[in-house]
Amino acid sequence: MIDKRVDTIAEAVAGIADGATVMIGGFGEAGSPIELIHALIDLGPKDLTVINNNTGSGHVGLAALIAAGQVAKMICSYPRSLNSKVFPELYRAGKIELELVPQGTLAERIRAGGAGIPAFYTRTSINTPLADGKKVRTFAGKEHVLEFGLTADFALVKCQTADRYGNLLFNKTARNYSPIMCTAAEVTVVQARNIVEVGQIDPECVVTPGIFVNRLFNVPDPVVESELVKAGTQYP
């Protein structure tokens, strides 16, 4: 029998070791798997490379993981925002590495990684500093930049509804990077608001087919990042 559900959140993140590459779903707070990130803080691996669009807010979730000194390198497109304080301080102090990637290139690198495509050419970033040192090739009279697919040891994502096979549905714009990250990681870990019986999700509506999912943990009432930031909450 296939049952990807795990009983504890510690089991969900077990095995994420020092030096691992971890994709974390979410665009700002929408789709951020905060409970899984906090479990990763509790587990405590160091020298992580984290792939996310941003760098977190306040002192919870991704920002707290960075503040805990567990992240050696961020691969992201927009590392600053209104309530992002932790990353900018560490970056200015030279204590964390940044690989800045245009948002669409980041998405396509993850998609390519999940699809077994090692590299591709794109127009994005041509003639800009973000193309410096990259291979350029002309197709149909236009220059394109070579970019590499991204894969990860683990992906941590949040979804709205799942079944024990790992078929997933998301909520509105909280979907963002999660479906492609599920395809690009060796082990995909999902926190789901609802877990339903197999057969209850309409096959026509499945967003992420279960083949891309390894572990499933039920978080029925996830915290809301902006509320925690507003309240000044710090994790741990």
Partner: protein
Amino acid sequence: MSKPGDNPRGWSREEMAQRTALDIPDGAYVNLGIGIPEMVAQFIPAGREVIYHTENGLLGMGPEPSPDNADPELINAGKKMVTAVPGAAFFHHADSFVMIRGGHIDLCVLGALQVSQQGDLANWSTGAPDAIPAVGGAMDLVAGVKKIAVITQHTTKDGHPKLVQACTYPLTGKAVVNRIYTNLAVVDVEDAGFVVAELAPGVDFDFVRDRTEAPIKMRSSS
């Protein structure tokens, strides 16, 4: 003559957004950047149906929600809460950027630090050594969207021209901007450089030329 930057003439921010909206045709798929571009949606003339794309994964973005309708999982690219109109679609990031990079979006309206006479755009970084570099979707948008429009003040707060011979800030894209809506004029970027298509009320061509670093011409009325 008044000094550049302290003129009371020309269009307000709302009027720049309104002027931009006049050029958006019925049926267009449009991506609006953060700031003044966001305001364009409220000025689309009656009778035109325009679909707004936000790169975090929504086609059919509607206005800001009422407080009882607000959902932190329904946001735009600026991470502000929005609504989804009837007929909207949600999708993941790779599909969202297929729309952008695959040339499926008709128009993108962005802000700018500088635009050059060749249509080069600088809008993501001032290159300051202590700044945290952040790019988001800007380079994808200028590389893939069919038409790129910019809304910007004609000069910086301290009077420096933003329509320049060559950008001094790091580029977002080279030769990508088609049309610029400033507080003083509507300016097209053509092979020959900047061409004024329309002047704001009360603004004459010399006033615009004096505040533009690169050569600029008036469109001949033929």
